[in-house]
């Protein structure tokens, strides 16, 4: 009985914590445009790094085609972002979100490198599905709402359909692995 009550209390606390985090979560982390540009560059570079491992390790044509596509498309996004910050005369600014993305990616890179040859294709494409989902959510939920510069905002808005097409493409490859 005592434990039940304790569990209920913990649950209530967790729910309260969850909702409060949700409410406050909309306001933080606050990013300025140069930080958003940094997040965009880092997020794209991470997927290029994953793809480069896939090119080294996979023999599957679907995976290789997908990885090549990721390298070319994400490079194109970085070029657009770099061209924009150059035009605006600013530099991408390192920040907590970029750092957290890089930290997570290091773990994933390790997993990709350690995966057995047999499992690699599945590990890679499963991660691509999860990563694109997470990035789409971050761009829609954080980067676009926080971007002040209209050109930066419209660049981010133009990237979302590409990420969605990549996600669908990744899911298609996933069914064949």
């Amino acid at each position: 009985m005592k434990t039940k009550r304790k569990n209920a209390l913990i649950l209530v606390c967790l729910v309260l914590l969850g909702t409060s985090k949700l409410t406050f979560g909309q306001e933080s982390p606050k990013l300025i445009d140069t930080e958003i540009a940094s997040v965009a560059v880092v997020a794209n570079q991470i997927d290029i790094d994953y793809a480069k491992i896939a090119l080294k390790r996979s023999k599957n044509k679907e995976i290789i085609d997908f990885a090549n596509r990721m390298i070319e498309d994400h490079k194109a996004v970085i070029q657009q972002a770099v061209a924009l910050v150059e035009k605006l005369g600013v530099n991408p600014k390192d920040n907590a979100v970029s750092q957290s993305l890089l930290k997570q990616s290091k773990e994933t890179l390790k997993t990709l490198k350690k995966a057995s040859r047999k499992d690699f294709d599945k590990v890679y494409i499963d991660n691509e599905v999860a990563y694109h989902k997470a990035v789409i959510d971050a761009v829609n939920g954080l980067l676009i709402p926080e971007a002040d510069n209209l050109e930066l905002k419209s660049l981010l808005e133009a990237v979302v359909p590409a990420l969605e097409v990549h996600l669908e493409h990744a899911k298609m490859v996933q069914t064949k692995i």
């Binding site: 596509r69 070319e72 996004v77 133009a158 359909p161 969605e164 493409h169």
Partner: protein
């Protein structure tokens, strides 16, 4: 009265100096007519092509073909224009029997359409479009 008519007829006949000049004008008209008919006949018709062929434009923007579905007449031309900063292509979907090969932002590619087509972007395989021939 009858005498007057006969006289007038005689005068008119005499005004034409020879049989050649008499037929010169109708002959010239006939030749001109023939030249017009032959010279200006639509070469499309001779080659059994669609003489009313028109050009349709498909814009590739934000990872979609706009419009994704197109109705055309046989022999019409379709032009695809890439407005994305990603490369795209136009590839026959079923057997990949033809492809535009990738083209970049601001570039275009065109094809004369003679049959129903299902196509996709071989780079981004979930991007798809269709073309239907209408009578």
């Amino acid at each position: 009265m009858l005498k007057w008519f006969k006289l007038k007829f005689k005068i008119e006949m005499q005004s034409h100096k020879s049989p050649v000049s008499k037929y010169l004008l109708p002959l010239a008209l006939l030749v001109c007519g023939l030249i017009l008919m032959v010279g200006f006949t639509n070469p499309d018709k001779l080659l059994n092509r669609n003489s009313n062929a028109t050009t349709h434009t498909v814009t590739i923007f934000k990872m979609k073909y706009h419009p994704a579905h197109l109705n055309v007449k046989k022999g019409d031309t379709v032009v695809w224009i890439n407005k994305d900063f990603f490369p795209h292509d136009v590839t026959e979907e079923t057997t990949q029997k033809w492809t535009s090969k990738p083209f970049n932002q601001g570039e275009k590619w065109s094809k004369v359409v003679n049959e129903d087509i299902k196509y996709f972007c071989n780079l981004h395989r979930v991007m798809k479009g269709t073309i239907t021939i209408i009578k």
